[in-house]
C-alpha cells in the first residue's frame, strides 16, 4: 500500500499481529466420545472373565499352535508361488495374439474368480468322487503314472489346489496389467536392437512390469494369510483348525480364537510393514 487511506485499519501496521486460531469445539467433543467408548471397551475386554486371558497366555506359544502357524505360513508361501507361476503363464497367454490361448486364459480367469475359494477347496477335497483314479500317460498309449485319487488328494494337495489355482486367476490379472503398463516404445526399441522375444520379455518388459505388479501382489499375500483359514473346513491343521481342535477338547473357544487372531494380527502386521518398504523401493526411479 503506497497510499495510506482514511479507511486503513487503526493501529501500527509494523507491530506483530496476534493470531487467534479458530476453535474447533466439535472436534474436541467427538474425541472425548471416541476415547470414552474405547476406554469402556478396553475395560470390558480386560475385566470380563469370559475372555479367559490366562488361557490365552497359556496357549499363545503352545507347540501345537506354533505348528499350526508354521503350516499357515507354508501354505501362504506355496499357494502364492503357485499363483505367481501359473498367473504369469496365464497373463502371457492372455496377451498372446493366438486367439485360442487368450480365450483359454480368459475362461480360466473367469471360472476361478467366479467360484468362491471355499467352494473350490471342498470341490478339490472331494475330487475322488469325480475321478476315482488319476492317470498320467499318452492318450491311447502307455501309462506313465497312475494312482488312486484318494492317495493323491490329501488335505494338503487339495488346499494347495484350491488356494493356488484361485490365486493364479487373480495374479494373472495383476501381471497382465503390469505387462500392459510397459510402453510399446520399449518393445520397439528392443526389437530394433535385434533382441528376440524371450530376451525382450525377460530383460526389458518384465522388470518394468514388476514395479506395477509388486504392490498389489503384496496385498494378495496379506489376503492369502487370512484365506488359508478356509482350509480348516477340509481338516488341514493350519492355525485356525489347530485352535479348533484344541477348543473342541477343552471348550475354551473364545481364548483359542483370540490366540489365533493374535497370530494373524502379528503376521499381517509384519507383512504390512514389509510391503510398505517394498512399495517405497519400487516407487523410486
Amino acid at each position: 500500500m503506497t497510499h495510506p487511506a482514511a479507511s486503513d485499519p487503526p493501529g501500527d501496521p509494523a507491530a506483530p499481529l496476534i493470531v487467534v486460531p479458530l476453535r474447533h469445539p466439535w472436534t474436541w467433543a467427538a474425541s472425548a466420545v471416541v476415547i470414552a467408548i474405547a476406554a469402556l471397551a478396553l475395560y470390558s475386554v480386560a475385566t470380563n472373565p469370559a475372555f479367559e486371558w490366562p488361557v490365552v497366555a497359556e496357549y499363545l506359544f503352545d507347540e501345537q499352535i506354533l505348528n499350526g502357524l508354521a503350516r499357515t505360513l507354508e501354505l501362504t508361501a506355496a499357494a502364492m508361488l503357485m499363483g505367481l507361476v501359473i498367473g504369469t503363464i496365464l497373463a502371457v497367454m492372455r496377451l498372446s495374439r493366438n486367439v485360442l490361448l487368450s480365450t483359454v486364459s480368459w475362461l480360466y480367469i473367469w471360472f476361478f474368480r467366479s467360484v468362491p475359494a471355499l467352494v473350490q477347496l471342498i470341490f478339490w477335497y472331494n475330487f475322488g468322487a469325480l475321478y476315482s483314479t488319476i492317470t498320467i500317460g499318452i492318450p491311447f498309449g502307455p501309462t506313465l503314472f497312475s494312482a488312486s485319487t484318494n492317495a493323491v488328494i490329501t488335505p494338503l494337495s487339495a488346499a494347495l489346489a484350491g488356494l493356488g489355482f484361485a490365486q493364479a486367476a487373480y495374479t494373472a490379472e495383476v501381471i497382465r496389467a503390469g505387462i500392459a503398463s510397459v510402453p510399446r516404445g520399449q518393445t520397439r526399441a528392443a526389437l530394433a536392437l535385434g533382441m528376440g522375444p524371450v530376451t525382450i520379455f525377460r530383460r526389458i518388459v518384465f522388470p518394468q512390469a514388476m514395479r506395477v505388479i509388486i504392490p498389489p501382489v503384496g496385498n494378495e499375500v496379506i489376503s492369502m494369510v487370512k484365506n488359508t483359514s478356509l482350509v480348516s473346513v477340509i481338516a488341514l491343521a493350519e492355525l485356525l483348525y489347530t485352535a479348533q481342535l484344541i477348543y473342541a477338547r477343552t471348550y475354551e473357544t473364545i481364548p483359542l480364537l483370540i490366540v489365533a487372531s493374535l497370530w494373524y494380527l502379528a503376521v499381517v502386521s509384519m507383512l504390512t510393514i514389509g510391503q510398505h518398504f517394498l512399495e517405497r523401493r519400487y516407487r523410486q526411479r
Partner: protein
C-alpha cells in the same frame, strides 16, 4: 562397404496400410552407402512408418525393401515371398540402428547398461569388451561422466545421445533417425544434432526424418519430401530448399520456415 553402385537401402513399390487407410502408397527410394538421406514432410505423411518398414518393425503390405543387398523380412524363391522366422529378422535388425523421437531408453537400466544390453545378450560380446566399447561411445557423445545415471536423471538431449550410442553399439550399417530432436527443448537440440553431424562425417549411412531444415541443408546428401504416403519431390537439399519445384513442397516449406 562401398561396393559399386548397390545402394545400402533400396526400396521399391513399398505399400503399407492400417485398416482401410493407405499410409504408404508405392515408395521408391535409394540411399547410397555412406550418404545421409533426410526426409521431410507434414505429420501423418508416412515418414515414420517408412522408417519402421525398413527394419521390419512394421510389416509391409506390398513392395520390397533391401538393406545391404538383402531382402528385408522375406526370402524370395520361385517368384514367391516366404516370410522369414523371427530370429532371421532379428539378425537383420542388428545391422540397422534406430533412434526414436521419444528416446525409448530402458528406464530400469543405467546409461551404460542400456548400451551394453544388446551387444551382450544378442551378439554375445564379452562383458568387459562391451563395457569398454560402451564407454568409448559415451565419450564420443560427451556423456562418459554420466554412465551410471538412470534415464530419469538425464535431460532429454542427454537421453537421446545415450540412445544414439546404444544403437551404435551394435555396429549397424545404417542408422534410422525418427524425428530425433522433436521431443527436445530447443536449447538441447544442438547437442544431439552435433552428435549426428559427427556421425555423418564418419561415413555412416543415415536416414533422418526431421523438421530441422538447417540440418538437412548442412549435412544431408539428399532430401526427400513426402506427403500423403507418397514421395512428392526429391533432390539435393540446398537446391530443393532454395527452389522447390513442386507446389506442395513450396507450400510446406513456406509453413515451416
Amino acid at each position: 562397404m562401398t561396393t559399386g553402385p548397390q545402394p545400402m537401402v533400396r526400396i521399391r513399390g513399398l505399400r503399407k496400410r492400417f485398416g482401410h487407410r493407405d499410409i504408404l502408397r508405392g515408395i521408391d527410394l535409394d540411399v547410397a552407402s555412406g550418404s545421409v538421406m533426410c526426409i521431410i514432410g507434414p505429420s501423418g505423411s508416412g515418414k515414420s512408418t517408412l522408417l519402421s518398414c525398413i527394419n521390419h518393425l512394421e510389416r509391409i503390405d506390398g513392395g520390397r525393401v533391401w538393406v545391404g543387398g538383402e531382402l528385408v523380412g522375406y526370402r524370395e524363391r520361385n517368384g514367391k515371398l516366404y516370410e522369414l522366422p523371427e530370429r532371421h529378422i532379428a539378425r537383420m535388425r542388428q545391422r540397422v540402428g534406430m533412434v526414436f523421437q521419444q528416446f525409448n531408453l530402458f528406464p530400469h537400466m543405467t546409461a551404460l547398461q542400456n548400451i551394453i544390453e544388446a551387444p551382450i545378450r544378442v551378439k554375445r560380446v564379452p562383458g568387459e569388451q562391451a563395457r569398454r566399447r560402451a564407454m568409448d561411445l559415451l565419450d564420443s557423445v560427451g556423456l562418459a561422466a554420466k554412465h551410471a545415471m538412470f534415464p530419469a536423471q538425464l535431460s532429454g538431449g542427454e537421453q537421446q545421445r545415450v540412445a544414439i550410442a546404444r544403437a551404435l553399439a551394435m555396429d549397424p550399417q545404417v542408422m534410422l533417425f525418427d524425428e530425433p530432436t522433436s521431443a527436445l527443448d530447443p536449447e538441447l537440440v544442438g547437442d544431439v544434432l552435433a552428435v549426428m553431424k559427427a556421425l555423418a562425417r564418419s561415413g555412416m549411412t543415415m536416414i533422418v526424418v526431421t523438421h530441422e531444415l538447417a540440418f538437412a541443408r548442412e549435412v544431408g546428401d539428399a532430401l526427400t519430401f513426402m506427403d500423403d504416403g507418397a514421395i512428392v519431390e526429391r533432390g539435393h537439399p540446398a537446391e530443393m530448399l532454395g527452389a522447390p519445384r513442386e507446389p506442395r513442397t513450396r507450400e510446406f516449406l513456406s509453413r515451416v520456415l
